[in-house]
């Protein structure tokens, strides 16, 4: 039997290979008519393209390859994954799904590609020609169409790693050993830090199940081909790499940037879509973005040799790895990156403000955090019960692949009956979400309490200490709850769980990538990092200082009790005794 190309690609990365294999088996088992040995879909001949009307981007066209995936369970399941999790509990119209976002990401990624081609056609032709060593113009243009198709497929598949309520479930399934280790391997494989959701999207693109579906769909095409249609071979390895912000060649790095970078198609779509569906008047000038986006020749350092290893596995056109010299401190590859010119300063500001405001209005809204927090605890509880039941990581992983948002209302699909999980489900479905009891931020502290609050807050941002700090405080609150209400039981952790008490410390929004969006040169203007041109870091810092909050939640029935318990617990753990302090951070409910 001929081995699949992924076997050699992922040699030395056993967990990634295992995830690819697991996903492939899962698809074949769960959806045999699409992916099995005797698959029947697509049943009828495939139309070369179809047109879809999107609320954000208008009438858009999808190729037969894209439609084959869109019409398969891989993309259809995204219809039932809310893009903004449980935000619709606060913004009733925020019901948009990962499905429409994925289609939107394809559209805007494609428009970025077209904008680059419009402005830098000669440069793009030259770099593609250098990859083929062929001067035939037609062949080069055909390869450009192929790259566009690979880019669009990557954008389409970029969110397929999500499970129910998007990022909320990711915080639970990322704890599975298989996915945790696969994320470590993927980070090493592509030379940048990656999470569990990206592992799944990346691996899914590499499954034989996906390549077979696409091959079958291409067997019977109907309809007239248009000038920019591409029916030839595609490279699904390149698609997988673009999903995680890389590509099969450093000269094509800009394709990875379009799908996964500081100003990527994902962000360009979700910022507008999340704001619009929530009813928030936030926007940015997309036309100006497309006008100013460009690719620039830069260097890609590779001291650890991870990119070198990656390129060796992929094969293809040999690429020169330059030794460190002069200003280049580490060995490097020449590359092309997606950049915005200095003239795009206003649009960068708009995008940054949009992102900051969306965190403030939606993603970090107290009630959204409350609802998502209880869902996360519900799923964590299920995970513990499944593990206690002897379920393997693979089985639990398959459950998360099965789950979409509908599972919340129709049981979580297993035989384990648990009072606490049932209680959480009931409360979630009926929006009996916990209420804020205390709200702590940097400015809450007076001079006398400053050191203690700062130590607490800063430890929450130290990845290794974060979980310990949170669980210590929750444990202390649980102990106080048991003292005040012994009927909650002797176990402080369970007492806190029954009272719906937890400490919520969201991760602040990340803006670090923005530093790398080096302004391109325009005639007579110097290059330089964005941060030297406008006060981006000052804005972020001011925003985070005043808007970043750590909250203590409890179910309404336990609110008064938790006011007392959490105060005593914080007096013990934080060391702050002042009544005035606790009065100032307590939410007023009476």
């Amino acid at each position: 039997m001929k081995s699949h190309p992924n076997v050699s690609l992922l040699a030395g990365y056993p967990k990634l290979a295992r995830v690819v294999d697991h996903l492939d088996q899962y698809l074949k088992r769960r959806h045999p008519s699409f992916f099995g040995e005797s698959a029947t879909h697509p049943v009828l001949p495939t139309k070369r393209s179809k047109v879809v009307h999107d609320a954000l981007w208008g009438t858009v066209r999808f190729s037969w390859r894209e439609m084959a995936l869109i019409d398969s369970p891989i993309i259809q399941r995204l219809r039932d994954l809310h893009q903004t999790g449980l935000a619709f509990y606060v913004y009733p119209s925020a019901h948009h799904s990962r499905f429409e976002h994925s289609l939107g990401a394809v559209t805007i990624a494609s428009r970025v590609f077209d904008a680059l081609l419009h402005k830098q056609r000669r440069e793009i032709r030259d770099l593609v020609r250098s990859l083929t060593s062929n001067n035939d113009q037609e062949l080069v243009d055909l390869l450009i169409l192929r790259l566009k198709q690979e880019l669009r497929l990557a954008a389409l598949l970029h969110d397929t790693g999500h499970s129910l309520y998007s990022h909320t479930s990711e915080r639970v399934y990322e704890k599975l050993d298989l996915l945790m280790e696969a994320a470590r391997e993927l980070s090493s494989f592509v030379g940048k830090e990656k999470g569990a959701g990206e592992v799944i999207s990346f691996c899914l693109a590499l499954t034989p199940a996906v390549s077979s579906l696409l091959s079958r769909a291409g067997e019977h095409l109907i309809g007239e081909a248009e000038s920019d249609d591409y029916d030839g071979e595609i490279d699904l390895t390149n698609v997988a790499l673009i999903i995680v912000g890389r590509s099969s060649n450093p000269f094509l790095q800009w394709l990875g940037d379009i799908v996964s970078s500081g100003f990527d198609a994902d962000k360009l779509d979700y910022l507008l879509r999340d704001a619009r569906t929530a009813g928030l008047p936030l926007t940015y000038d997309v036309d100006r973005y497309l006008y100013d986006v460009r690719i620039e020749r830069e260097i890609l350092p590779d001291d650890q040799g991870e990119i070198e290893k990656l390129l060796a596995r992929i094969g293809g056109t040999p690429v020169t790895r330059h030794p460190a010299s002069g200003q280049a401190r580490y060995p490097y590859y020449e590359t092309y990156r997606l950049r915005l010119s200095r003239r795009a300063m206003n649009v960068i500001e708009q995008i940054m403000i949009c992102k900051m405001m969306l965190f403030s209005y939606i993603y970090h809204h107290g009630k959204v955090r409350a609802a998502e927090g209880i869902l996360e605890r519900l799923l964590s509880r299920r995970l513990d019960l499944w593990r206690a039941n002897g379920d393997t990581d693979e089985l639990i992983f398959s459950r998360f692949l099965d789950m979409t948002d509908a599972w919340l209302r129709h049981s979580l699909g297993d035989e384990i009956n648990d009072d606490l999980a049932n209680e959480y489900e009931y409360r979630l479905i009926n929006r009996l979400i916990p209420r804020e009891v205390y709200n702590i931020s940097g400015p809450s502290a007076t001079h006398a309490q400053r050191v203690m609050i700062e130590d607490f807050l800063i430890d929450l941002h130290d990845r290794e200490r974060r979980a310990g700090v949170i669980s210590s405080l929750e444990q202390a609150i649980g102990e106080e709850l048991v003292k005040l209400r012994p009927e909650l039981g002797p176990d402080p952790v369970m007492a806190a769980a029954l009272a719906g008490v937890w400490v919520d410390a969201p991760k602040p929004p990340k803006f670090e990538d923005v530093d790398d969006v080096v302004m391109g040169t325009t005639s007579g203007t110097p290059t330089g990092p964005v941060m030297q041109i406008f006060p981006i870091r000052e804005w972020i810092q001011a925003y985070e200082h005043y808007r970043y909050q750590v909250r203590i939640f409890a179910f309404s029935e336990y609110w008064d009790l938790t006011v007392a318990a959490a105060k005593t617990a914080m007096q013990r753990t934080l060391g702050i005794q002042s009544e005035l302090f606790y009065n100032s951070i307590r939410r007023n409910r009476h």
Binding site: Q304, I458, D459, R463, E464, R465, E512, Q541, H545
Partner: protein, 137 residues
């Protein structure tokens, strides 16, 4: 990973380094975080028994003109917005830690593993080189 290497979190290590550098009058870069990333990348490569374990598992992204660690970037940002360190300059070029905090942070390893103390001394001297080479605006 060195067997039996000292345990310390990234945050604790940064705090200690910041405290010691502050006491030595070395400016801590903030707006331009490249020197921090280069310092930690070099420390990661440095073979030493006293190297704390977290350095061996630190992930660097090869995506910017220099190796960049997301975990470090997140902590540096938090150091400032939690008000643990302040930028009392109009351009946020550098951050500073008040005298009492610097003194407290610089003593974090005083009672700990002596190998770690030696490593911290090496880190401080390397930081002086990296931070001293900061481009002036």
């Amino acid at each position: 990973m060195t067997k039996g290497s000292p345990e310390m979190s990234l945050g604790q290590f940064v705090k200690q380094l910041a405290g010691r550098l502050q006491e030595d009058g070395i400016a801590l870069p903030f707006k331009n975080q490249m020197p921090w990333h280069l310092l930690f990348y070099e420390l990661r490569k440095y073979p030493s028994e006293g190297k704390p374990q977290f350095l061996d598992t630190l992930v660097f992204d090869w995506d910017a003109p220099y190796p960049k660690c997301q975990e470090l970037a997140e902590f540096l940002s938090a150091l400032h917005f939690t008000a643990s360190a302040s930028a009392r300059n109009p351009r946020f070029d550098v951050i500073s830690v008040d005298h009492t905090t610097a003194e407290r942070w610089s003593r974090i390893t005083d009672q700990g593993d002596p190998r770690l103390k030696t490593f911290v001394i090496h880190a401080v001297s390397l930081a002086k080189k990296e931070f001293g080479a900061m481009p002036k605006d």
